[in-house]
């Protein structure tokens, strides 16, 4: 066997602390190494051409590149050796950047370590065999989880591209957080006027199948062939019959049910349609508050329903769908700000969240667009906005910026002035983050044209006072850090710009999708810069705030990006599997079935082989994780390209002394 070794400088990234020429010189002493050299940028076009030429010139059978992480360029170099006529698996990479040059300063020690890592790669390559992918069919349907604006965009773009879409939405209507907003920045145009047509498009698109009031129960399979089970939660209303006429909601006597769509500002009926533009516009009974379901006595809705859609006996239903790709667009929730005792921890009635305030501003909200204090229903004269509540606060483990609060706070302050020209608004901020198009101009408008008083300082505490007329006031104890003095504001109402976190249940969904997520419930992208839409699981893509804080335009852009990823995946009729998968040595296998039990992908099945039980790997399902390999008591399952022999050879290469 003839092996070529190429040691990369990576500019000065590696060369600064590793003597690459020396590594190449040492590599020539390793068994089977026929050629070794160092090169400035191995991944560049001349760098790759150099490898191709060397393969031809020296008749190489395999190549080792010592450079960066294989996550960066393994695919690049596999294609390079393929160009020169070698099998793409006759290639190994030694990571001498992340594992050597970036973490140590001692040039001599680094050079030694780099040479040893190259030795390791050479020993593995000597035992490599050519591998060939299998082809399999693709189910050209996509599952979109979450019907907020990001999911809607992804679904419409996929459907317009001719792909069948299955959309699953947890609530009884799509629209997500954007449907709750009154206006959007920086244009102050009506949120539902922009969103509603898109929601209608989803409902009417022949390629989109919408499961509202449903949740993903489980997902199995792999890119191109996922099987999804969906739980259709019981609405106690037969949606095929329900026309959304609203008669039931008018007559329902349980009028004190919490109203989640309105962020619990005001109350609603136990049977309910969240808002007039809901898609689908169907009624749902909240079983916790329905008199019929809690006490057995009532049944008013069933009596008044003109289509006989009410069914108190209804149960959850499980349906199964086959898809080839998944877009997760599950959005966010506000963090639980009530842990902040200094702001009253939820005990002060007129201290509300910005999302609650948004519902008050909205004409279809619980106050019909009038700003009213929850404590006494009066219009507030002074409204104070506090930013960064539960953001940039490591004392409660929320170190990150929630991204869009600066902008919506400016918008809400402007709208407050529009609604109540005599009112005064104060915004307590730490920094204004307005880097988008026309964003900074917008926050300046709030100050310059609307007279909103911006005060740079965090509010230490909100302290209620009882006024002479018996009404409540709220003293905000703050500092104007620009003035360098403590300041106070007596407000009638306080709006908290509460920080965000991944939507509740995001972690469980991530486990089902086998994607990574952080401790705040945000899903991890495959690469923070170069693969912000992909995940570590092939065929699963991200859109919107589920990946990290972003505003509406950015969420829409990512929704389209995810759709582009799906369309590009589905542009091929067949996909190729990764041949680095498990293989059963049928002679050694005793058919104990332990591998079947541990396989996380359901890729191993028990078969009957001439009257003997044996294990068999389903090649297109196996992901090559190696759990079966480690479990098999007989050593009968090996993972191609990572056999026990190869790994032991690597260990031996390292333990020479």
């Amino acid at each position: 066997m003839k092996i070529g070794v190429f040691v990369c400088h990576c500019g000065s990234n590696i060369e600064a602390t590793v003597d690459t020429a020396e590594v190449a010189r040492i590599a020539l002493t390793y068994p089977d190494v026929a050629h070794a050299e160092d090169s400035m940028y191995t991944c560049s076009e001349p760098g790759q051409d150099n490898i191709v030429n060397a393969i031809k010139k020296y008749g190489l059978d395999g190549v080792v590149v010592a450079s960066c992480s294989p996550r960066m360029h393994e695919q690049t170099f596999r294609r390079t050796v393929e160009r020169a006529g070698l099998n793409r698996y006759m290639f190994e990479m030694a990571n001498i950047r992340e594992h050597v040059s970036w973490i140590g300063k001692d040039r001599e020690a680094n050079t030694n370590k780099a040479a040893e890592l190259v030795r390791l790669a050479v020993e593995k390559l000597r035992r490599d065999a050519p591998l060939h992918s299998k082809q399999f069919d693709v189910t050209k349907r996509v599952l979109v989880i979450g019907g907020g604006v990001a999911g809607i965009q992804a679904a419409l773009d996929c459907a317009d591209g001719g792909i069948e879409v299955v959309m699953v939405e947890r609530e009884s209507t799509i629209g997500g957080k954007m449907a709750k907003l009154d206006k959007t920045f920086p244009t102050v145009d009506c949120s539902s006027c922009v969103l509603s047509p898109k929601m209608v498009d989803v409902a009417q698109h022949p390629k989109i199948k919408l499961y509202a009031y449903s949740e993903v129960e489980s997902i199995s399979g792999f890119v191109g062939n996922f099987t999804v089970t969906i739980r259709k939660k019981t609405a106690y209303v037969d949606w095929d019959k329900c026309t959304g006429c609203g008669t039931c909601t008018e007559k329902c006597p349980a009028r004190h049910s919490p109203d989640p769509f309105n962020e619990c500002v005001g109350e609603t009926t136990a049977i309910n349609i969240p808002f007039p533009q809901a898609i689908p516009k169907k009624a749902v009974i909240d079983a916790r508050y329905c008199r019929k379901l809690t006490t057995g006595k009532c049944g008013v809705c069933a009596r008044v329903c003109p289509t006989g859609a009410i069914n108190y006996e209804m149960k959850d239903e499980i349906v199964t769908e086959q898809v080839g790709a998944v877009v997760a667009a599950t959005g966010y929730d506000l963090m639980d700000w009530t842990i902040m005792g200094e702001y009253g921890g939820g005990r002060f009635p007129d201290v509300i969240t910005s999302l609650q305030y948004e519902r008050m501003l909205s004409a279809n909200g619980p106050t019909a667009g009038h700003i009213k204090r929850p404590s006494d229903g009066r219009e507030p004269g002074v409204v104070a906005f506090i930013q960064c509540v539960g953001s940039r606060d490591r004392s409660i483990d929320r170190p990150y910026c929630s991204g869009f609060c600066c902008m919506y706070t400016a918008k809400q302050a402007i709208l407050t002035r529009d609604h109540m020209p005599e009112s005064r608004s104060f915004v307590f901020y730490m920094d204004i983050r307005a880097p988008g198009k026309m964003y900074d101009e917008f926050t300046r408008r709030a100050v310059e044209e609307y007279g909103v008083q911006y005060v740079r300082g965090r509010v230490s505490a909100i302290q209620p006072i009882r006024r002479a007329d018996g009404s409540l006031g709220y003293i905000l104890r703050a500092a104007d850090t620009l003035l360098g003095e403590p300041v106070e504001v007596e407000a009638d109402m306080v709006v908290l710009a509460v920080g965000i976190e991944g939507a509740h249940g995001a972690g469980e969904l991530a486990e089902k999708l086998r994607i990574s997520y952080d401790k705040y419930g945000f899903f991890m992208e495959r690469h923070v810069k170069l693969a912000p839409v992909e995940t570590n699981t092939a065929g699963v893509y991200l859109a919107g705030v589920c990946q990290g804080a972003k505003d509406i335009p950015a969420s829409v852009a990512q929704g389209s990006a995810a759709a582009a990823k799906v369309l590009s995946l589905f542009s091929r009729d067949k996909l190729e599997n990764d041949p680095q998968i498990a293989q059963v040595d049928i002679k050694r296998c005793v058919g104990c079935g332990k591998c079947v039990d541990v396989c996380p992908y359901g890729a191993i099945k028990k078969i009957d082989f001439r009257g003997q039980p044996k294990a068999e790997v389903v090649e297109t399902v196996c992901q090559g994780c190696g759990v079966c390999n480690a479990t098999c008591p007989q050593g009968a399952i090996q993972v191609s390209h990572f056999t026990d022999n190869q790994i032991l050879a690597e260990v031996n290469a390292l333990c020479q002394f």
């Binding site: 921890g345 302290q463 209620p464 006072i465 009882r466 006024r467």
Partner: protein, 320 residues
Amino acid sequence: MKLAYYPGCSGHGTSKEYESSTRAVCRALGLEFAEIEDWSCCGSTPAHAMDTVLSGALAARNFKQIALTGAEGVVTPCPSCLANLKLARHRMQDAAFKARVDALLDSPTVENAEALPETYSVLQIILEQIGPEAIRARVTRPLEGVKIATYYGCLMSRPADVMQFDDPENPTAMDKIMEALGAEVVDFPLKTECCGAAMGVARQDVTGSLSGRILATARSFGADAVVTACPLCHMNLDLRQGQAERQMRLKFRLPVFYYTQLMGLAFGLPDETLKLDKLAVDPAPFLQLVARRRKARIDAAAEAARAAMEKAESEEGAAS
């Protein structure tokens, strides 16, 4: 766990009534503590304002005295002593700091810093070992129909990681006790706002304005009285109430009790243990208010019973 009792210096001077009522209430609730022989001052604010090691050593001498009683922990009614003793133990977990403290003492404290006695407030022990239900059961003369503002001051639950008791922003320990006594607790927003602490001697303008704000707010929320668990807070709110009134150009006339005095009242403990006569702001109007409300309730109950009897009689008459 056997606990020792550390009264603190003010118990012998300005807060005699706190000391006396605390002992009486504990006795009534069956709480017994070992007396510490020859305890000395914990150093209070002045010591740690000057030097943390000196402050630690003044506290640590007491740790040795506590060890002599055979107790594993110590309770004190005074939040300032509580904070000093707790903080000293907390800082002495660092070996270097402990060595510097030990060097100031005649003989070093126990080698294992974890064996140093932990300090608790009497309030915490009453709440956690007795609890509101048992307190309610002990009440013979409920504080009915009166509104109380509970004032905790800044030291009871701060810093939270050292004090390990109650909510640092909205403490409720005394609220629960006052409710158990039958009083109504107002939602007082300045529970943990500082009263001016030891600044009163050198800067009465500071204590006057800070205490004045607390008293004015308590009044605006309709409180008939304020309760506190701290001798220094009590001095600023009660003994210095006149100064606060002059500073704020307002009249408060708001009685300020130690919570143990109100517990004693509701338990019907003898006057000489509660020492209400030591209070600077006259508590008599408050006590009369409780008495009037009690009488009104009893009168109403009697009236209702009489009416019910008459109704029953007349119905009986109609039936026969």
